[in-house]
Amino acid sequence: MEQMWFTAASWIGLALVASLISIRTGVSVALVEIFLGVIGGNFLGFQPNEWINVLAAFGSMMLTFLAGAEIDPDSLRKHLKPSLVIGGVSFLFPFLGAMAFSYWVTDWDLRASQISGIALSTTSVAVVYAVMVETRLNETDLGKLILAACFVTDLGTVLALGILFARYDRWMIVFVVVTGLALWLLPRFSRYMFTKYGGRVSEPEVKFIFLVLCFLGALAVTASSEAVLPAYLFGLVVAGVFVRDKVLLHRMRTITFTLLTPFFFIKAGALISIPALITGFNLILILLGVKMAAKIIGVWPLTRYYGMTLREGNYVTLLMATGLTFGSISALFGLTNNIINQAQYSVLVTTVIASAVVPTFIATTWFTPKRPFVEEPVVYGTMEHFLHHPEEA
C-alpha cells in the first residue's frame, strides 16, 4: 500500500514539474509530460503498473472524447464538402504512404505497418487551433474550414484504429448495433440529463458521461476494437450539447487534466527507449519526411483548388502535417496489443512528436498569412467625449 502512494506521489510530482516547465517555457504540458516521461522511464525507473495503465487508458479515452466534443457542428455543416475532401485526403495519403513505406522499405509486418500508417496519418487539432487563435484565423471562414478538416482527419484515424484491428464476430455486431443505437439516442438523453440533473454536487452528469464511455469502451475492447473509437463518436454527437454547457466541459477538463492525461502522456514517454531512438534516428527522420511529403502531395493541391493563396496554402498544408495526441494514442495501442515492439513504438512516438514541432515551426516562421493587427472592439472615453462624437458610441 505504501508503495502505491510513493508511486502515485512520484508520478504526480513529475506531472507537477511538467506543469511548471510548461508555464515557464510556453511548450504544451502534454509535450513536456512525454519528455519527462522519457527521462523518468529511462533513468528514474518510472514504469507503468496496473493502476497507472487504467488511469492512462481512461486518459486517452477522455482525450478523444473531449476532442470530439470540441467540434463546432454548425461550422462542420457549413463546410461539409471541402472539409470532408481535405480532411479525408489529409488522413488517407499519409496513412497509405507511411504504411507502404513501413511495409516495403523497413520490412515491418503488415499489422505494425498499419499502426505506423495510422499514427502518422493524424493532424493535431490542438497545434492548428493554437496557431489559428493567435493569428485570429479561427474567426474566419478559412480557419473554420481548416479546423473542420482536422476533425475529419482525426475521425479517419480513430475509425482506422477501431476497424483495422477488430475481430469480426458476433461481438462486433453487438458493438456496432449498441454503439449505433447509443449514438442515435445519446444527444437527446444527454441534454435531458444535463438539464435535469446538472450542476449538483454529486455530479450525476459527469458520472453519466463516464458510464457511457466505459460501457461503450468495454464493448469495443470485447470486439477487439479500440475504446477511443466510441469515445470520439460520443464526443462528436454530444458536441452540440457541450456548446451550450461550458461549465460541464470545464469540469470535465479539470478532472481529465489533473488526474488522467498526465498518466497517459508520462506513460507514453516512459515507454520510449532511448537506445532504440539512437538506433532508429535515421528512420525517424525518414518517417517524418514521408508523413510531411504525403500531406503536401495530398493537401496542398486541394488548398489551391479551394481558392487559398499560395502562402495560405503552404501554411495550411504544414499545419495539417502536425500530430501529437492521436498519434501517441495509436502507437500506444499498437504497443499495448503487441502489434509493435518497443523499438518500433519509440520510433513512431518520436516521429509523432517531431511532426508536432517541425511543421509548426516552418509554418509559423515562414508562411504565417499576413494579417493586420486587429483593434480590440473597445474604445474608451468619457461621457463628454461621446456627447461630442455620438457616432462612436
Binding site: S22, G26, V27, S28, V29, A30, L31, L63, L66, A67, E70, S124, V125, A126, V127, Y129, A130, V133, E134, T135, L249, R253, T256, F257, T261, F265, T322, L324, T325, A356, V357, T360, P372, F373, V374, E375, E376, V378, V379, Y380, G381, T382, E384, H385, E392
Partner: protein, 140 residues
C-alpha cells in the same frame, strides 16, 4: 509634433508610468492615443484543444484586468484610447505594430514584467529602442 502615440502596456509599474506620460503627451499634442498589450503565446505544440482554450481563458482574464486599468486612466483624463492585443514576442511585436500603424512615438516603461530574465537578455524597452521605426520614450 506627435500625432499618434503608442503605449506599450503590460500592467507593470513601469508601464503604468508610461501610460501616465502618454496621456499627458496626448493632451499636450492633441495626439491620437493607442495602447498595445502583447499577449504571451499560447502553448506551443498543444496536446488538446482544451489545453489551448484554458490558457486562452487565463490570458483573456489577465487582459481584461489590464484593459480596465487603461480604461480607468483614460477616462479620468477625458481621453479616448484604442487598444491592440496581438500575440507574440513583446519587443518584436511592439516594433511590428509601430511599423504597421505609422506611429510617431512609442512610450515604454523602463522595466516591465520580464524580471530577472531582463538582466541577462535585456529589457523590452532596450530592444524596442534599438529596432523601432520611430522615436521611443523610455519612461522611468
Amino acid at each position: 509634433m506627435f500625432k499618434k502615440l503608442l503605449i506599450a502596456y503590460d500592467g507593470s509599474e513601469g508601464a503604468q508610468k508610461a501610460l501616465a506620460a502618454g496621456i499627458s503627451l496626448a493632451r499636450i499634442h492633441q495626439a491620437e492615443l493607442w495602447a498595445v498589450t502583447v499577449q504571451e503565446r499560447l502553448p506551443r505544440y498543444g496536446g488538446t484543444i482544451d489545453e489551448i482554450d484554458e490558457e486562452k481563458k487565463f490570458l483573456d482574464e489577465r487582459f481584461e484586468k489590464i484593459a480596465a486599468e487603461v480604461r480607468d486612466q483614460a477616462q479620468a483624463a477625458g481621453l479616448e484610447i484604442k487598444l491592440l492585443r496581438p500575440f507574440g514576442h513583446p519587443a518584436q511585436t511592439i516594433v511590428e505594430v509601430a511599423k504597421e500603424g505609422n506611429y510617431d512615438l512609442i512610450l515604454v516603461g523602463h522595466s516591465g514584467v520580464s524580471g530577472v530574465w531582463a538582466a541577462f537578455l535585456g529589457t523590452t524597452a532596450e530592444k524596442v529602442s534599438r529596432h523601432a521605426p520611430c522615436s521611443v520614450l523610455i519612461v522611468r
